[in-house]
Subunit: 294 residues, 2 copies
């Protein structure tokens, strides 16, 4: 099992909700925490609130002395850092973890880092409706799944240290390869986002000639459409680095939808009902077996 | 405007969440409330809690002396009552309102009731995650839209009396014809249900060979899939009485989805992002203009 995690110098690149929450959760397990962020307001907030010990907008200065570096930026920013500069900035034996939402491209890029950088991909399955460091919460990761995906630069020691870090966050580590991770999140996260956005686009189109669509929309629409309000840049990053898996899941979704539609149009109520029943059961079982236990 | 509503004898057919909540909300505006329900347990609960004054499982006895009758049953049960028996059970000048979730078939059936029965279709846009009379809440209708759809048996006096009843529920009356209502709810309610059910079916299919789909599913999946847990009988009733409008909306949804998918697969990030931005704005504006004001 993982040994007690401790960092001499923890560096967190990107002080948003996720990065800020990691800083709060690991406060007592790091001698020093440096935060790297381009926003001056964010850096000032992080310093004023004691979330980090040092804040800088310089990547080199922020990560060069660290023994643990966490990349908590949008996927394409993480990719750019991995491909362009960060490998040469790090000391030998530094543990590098990212928390980007898709993993295949990132883990591939990690594989090309200099030997001696111990890099592993991560994806904590948590979040909040609002983002930004002001929303930081030391308990954000508690009891939530934290996926770890090995790269060609993941040593056994690095893996154990990452597991120890996840333990300190009180998260639940789940190890899998990046391809499998990306297929799963395509289904449980990216497909739902696309459906939600497409639903809103469909209603917005109807509402052009009849605003009562907005007026009458209630709880069912609210829940189903919530993801459509997600940050567009972040979702664009995610979708563009997981296109293949998303397209595969979309094809399966369309097939399932066509089956239901055929029964509906044929007036085949018995079959429709017999098809919807196990779906209802599956959703209820998920809620009682997973969601309600967190 | 509507005058102060008062019933000499209010009869509510169907003592579920919706019917029970109407009884509670209209308690002081009716000299007597009779509830009709086939379930003995429900009738006993309604009597024990003082929700109704009389409870019966006999439709004739329950509605024959009423001057206001509210049909609060599933759509196909309402249709059966309208087509088979209830018209001959009612006294002349009785106000008959239903609260079924689709309106065209019901309003059509109302048009064939005996002259003298004053019938109008209704659909309150409210509800709760759990159903049953135990969930009844006098404030369930407060500030929520309550659609009224005229039938060939809606007299001007009946319309005013229905508006008065809605005022007592503290709901917001919205008058429109049944066809328009059914198109709108196809978009904001029935389409979201089908998408939610199809999403769960897609994930359940994947999870057959990899249960990590369930394990990693988090908030985005939870919201988007919630409607899939709806009562299958109720949704079957709704879909089977609104097939045409649902099929139309499904076709529009598919077209919008194909547009997004094309951009995604082409790697056209700029266009994808420019398409998603106004969708995000529309969802956020709906929340601030409508949802958050209720």
């Amino acid at each position: 099992m993982a040994t007690g995690f401790h960092a001499r110098h923890l560096s967190i690149v990107g002080l948003g909700l996720m990065g800020g929450s990691i800083a709060l959760a690991l406060r007592e397990y790091a001698d020093k925490i440096t935060g790297v962020d381009l926003s001056q307001a964010t850096r000032e907030y992080a310093m004023d609130e004691g979330i980090v010990d040092v804040a800088t907008d310089e990547l080199y200065a922020g990560v060069n002395h660290a023994d643990v570096v966490i990349l908590a930026a949008p996927v394409r920013v993480i990719l750019e850092m991995l491909r362009m500069r960060i490998g040469t900035y790090l000391r030998s034996n530094t543990l590098l973890i990212d928390i980007g939402s898709t993993k295949s491209d990132i883990v591939d890029a990690m594989g090309n880092l200099p030997i001696g950088v111990n890099a592993i991909g991560g994806h904590p399955m948590t979040g909040k409706e609002n983002s930004g460091i002001e929303e930081s919460d030391a308990n954000l990761y508690q009891n939530r799944p934290f996926v770890l995906c090995p790269s060609r630069r993941t040593t056994p020691a690095a893996r154990l240290r990452a597991l120890g870090l996840i333990q300190r966050l009180q998260a639940v580590p789940i190890e899998m390869d990046a391809t499998r991770h990306d297929q799963i999140v395509a289904g449980i996260s990216h497909l739902p986002y696309l459906l939600s956005a497409t639903l809103v686009a469909t209603i917005a189109n109807q509402a052009k000639t009849d605003t009562a669509y907005w007026e009458l929309a209630a709880g069912g629409f609210r829940d189903t459409s919530r993801l459509a309000a997600s940050d567009v840049t972040m979702m664009g990053d995610i979708l563009s680095t997981n296109t293949k898996a998303v397209a595969t899941l979309l094809a399966q979704f369309r097939m399932q939808l066509a089956m239901l539609e055929t029964m509906l149009i044929a007036g085949d109520d018995t079959n429709l009902s017999e098809t919807l029943k196990p779906i209802r059961t599956a959703r209820k079982e998920w809620a009682s077996n997973y969601e309600n236990k967190r």
